[in-house]
């Protein structure tokens, strides 16, 4: 997805000093075009309107609950407008086969699919990979069964040769473990409210589930981490704290992270194996000019 340019007014700046990217429902977005934004569409009419008339300020459309509408995907495949799509699939275990509707769309515009980690999500992951659709996986707080499914998904991502597209958060974590400077999990999943400011139908800011709406979102993740530390959460001793920053303690701060740590360990182990392989690799002069790191 495109990064927002640095032209927002100071009060819209995030804690990091970079501009925050607002998300507005389609009904409100028309009045918010002073700077970059993401438009959230959840009806065929809004989808087609913003698809056809998206001004350059629109970074992408977040499309919710519309995968089952074949006509709109035919329209999205028809026009080579620049606007990218983030297609949210709320029930990936049952809706996964409808991802075929995006096969033609991704030929004319950037398309990413986002889905929550609920039972059966790995079916959607497999098909998205087969269709070359990048994935953003929202893990929530997985129970033991979901952790096992998540570990299977990690194995698929790491070892299936058909996977050529990024699967987040696996991709960025693997990159970070391979020495590529990156960001934390909140940012990678576009869940840091300092940077990604979501608004409801009334225009009020939406805070992460379980978070208090006061004070203002600035510094939210830092304050959340500090609160966890004060509560004696396991995060302070966790080797993946600098990447995770307590993400898996939301909304339930008592969530036990043992399963998630196995996921991070599996990815880190793979990164280590890659480093070993790369160290033993003798590049040709042509290859030596190319970076072996994950892009």
């Amino acid at each position: 997805m495109a990064q927002p340019p640095l032209n927002l007014p100071p009060d819209d700046r995030s804690g990091s000093g970079t501009p925050a990217l607002p998300f507005f429902p389609a009904a409100l977005a028309g009045n918010q075009l002073a700077g970059p934004l993401v438009v959230v569409v959840d009806t065929p009419i809004d989808f087609c309107r913003w698809l056809n008339e998206a001004p350059p300020e629109v970074q992408w459309l977040q499309v919710e609950g519309l995968l089952g509408e074949p006509e709109i995907w035919a329209a999205a495949a028809r026009q080579a407008s620049a606007v990218a799509l983030d297609v949210v699939v709320s029930q990936p275990g049952s809706e996964f086969s409808s991802l075929y509707r995006l096969a033609d769309v991704r030929n004319v515009r950037d398309v990413r699919v986002t889905f929550p980690m609920v039972p059966g999500f790995s079916k959607a992951l497999r098909l998205a990979a087969a269709l070359q659709l990048p994935v953003r996986l929202l893990p929530g707080q997985p129970d033991d069964a979901l952790v096992e499914e998540l570990l299977g998904a990690v194995d698929f991502y790491l070892h299936d040769p058909s996977v050529e597209v990024p699967v987040e958060f696996f991709h960025s974590f693997l990159a970070s473990q391979s020495g590529v400077p990156g960001s934390d999990l909140w940012m990678i999943l576009e869940q840091d409210p300092d940077e990604y400011r979501r608004h409801d139908q009334q225009g009020a800011l939406i805070y992460p589930e379980g978070a208090l709406p006061s004070p203002a979102p600035s510094g939210f993740v830092t304050r959340f981490e500090q609160n966890l530390a004060e509560q004696g959460a396991e995060c302070s001793g966790c080797r993946w704290q600098s990447f995770c920053r307590g993400y898996f303690k939301m909304p339930d701060p008592d969530y036990a992270c043992a399963g998630i740590i196995r996921v991070f360990d599996a990815l880190a182990k793979a990164a280590g194996e890659m480093a070993t392989d790369l160290a033993a690799w003798q590049p040709s002069p042509q290859e030596a000019s190319q970076s072996p790191a994950i892009p």
Partner: protein, 381 residues
Amino acid sequence: MNARSFSVILLPTAECNVACEYCFEYKEPHRLSPALVPLLTKRLLDHMENEDIAECEVYWQGGEALIMGPAWYLETRDAMAKAARERGRRFVHYLQTNLISYSPAWNDVIFDMFNGSVGTSMDFPNHHRKLFNGSADDYSRVWRQRLDEARAAGIRVGVIAVLHQGSLAAGADAFYRHFVEELGLDDFQVNTPFPGGPANDSAIEFQLDPAALATFLGELFDIWVDRGLEAGVALGPFDALIDHFTGRPARLPCIWKENCSNQFISVDSKGTVAQCDCWVTSYPDYYFGNIFREPDLTRMLSESPARRQFVERPGKLVEDGDCLECRFLSICHGGCPVRTYSALGTMHAKDPYCEVYKVIFAKAESEGRNLRQRRTAKAAV
């Protein structure tokens, strides 16, 4: 306008000048009238405009496409090009012919309209392609003569070979030698057969045991890698698979597209629209409509219940079958609907050649890996 591809397999006639025993087409003596070409062109251009498609590939075949005569093609080409130019679009033409009636009179058309290239078909050994008043040997002799004449005129000829029991009995080595060494071809393709249309005795020859077919294709693949790959022999679909598994842009055959209904349609001389030539010539229950009688092709395609079955097929396969678990899903998507339908009576099942494809995919994957390593080593030296 977008980069989405759109192709039309156009059958200007169902007539044919030969009598192949296994042909599944109904050879009605009907030809596309020049008077209808402007309407056909308009319908296609309307659709391209609706879909924001700049270029349409037109694959002319039959019946036998050359029956229409060179003048008919030149007139048609001009009419289509003029109409397309006026609407800022383009047609690109390809020709598939049995070559039997080829003569130098076709050269101007082939160079002007088809970029000096034609596709044709021949099997090895040829048991079933016959002239109306001649044997399979007579057919082979005439075809070879025409092939040589066309190539002598500078025409590039690609050949499609359909495998049958005799091919498997002859073996992969004899098969490869025939096409590459005896015929001197450097561009040919092997197709798996399917029993389209009404059953006949010859159809049995084309019902191949998947294990035997997999063995044959595996051996053919190895022979091609050994003798043809580095020598510049293009053998489809192996060459496209090697491109895929070495990270190069690959033009995989239609049977392995994520959804062939997104890619092309077929139109016959009466205007019947269906998914591909196999469907338009054999299975009336699956017609999408008629391009002359219905004013809006885009609407026909979006509303046709028959086409919806094609659109939904890959999704149903990953829901109901085991395709989702297959590591080759990204390059197969359940295979060919017509091969499935003709074998099983439904298109909502995976291709009956699934296990054959897996053998080829695995071989290409392995060879692709070797090839990358060899190229890396070569670059290092």
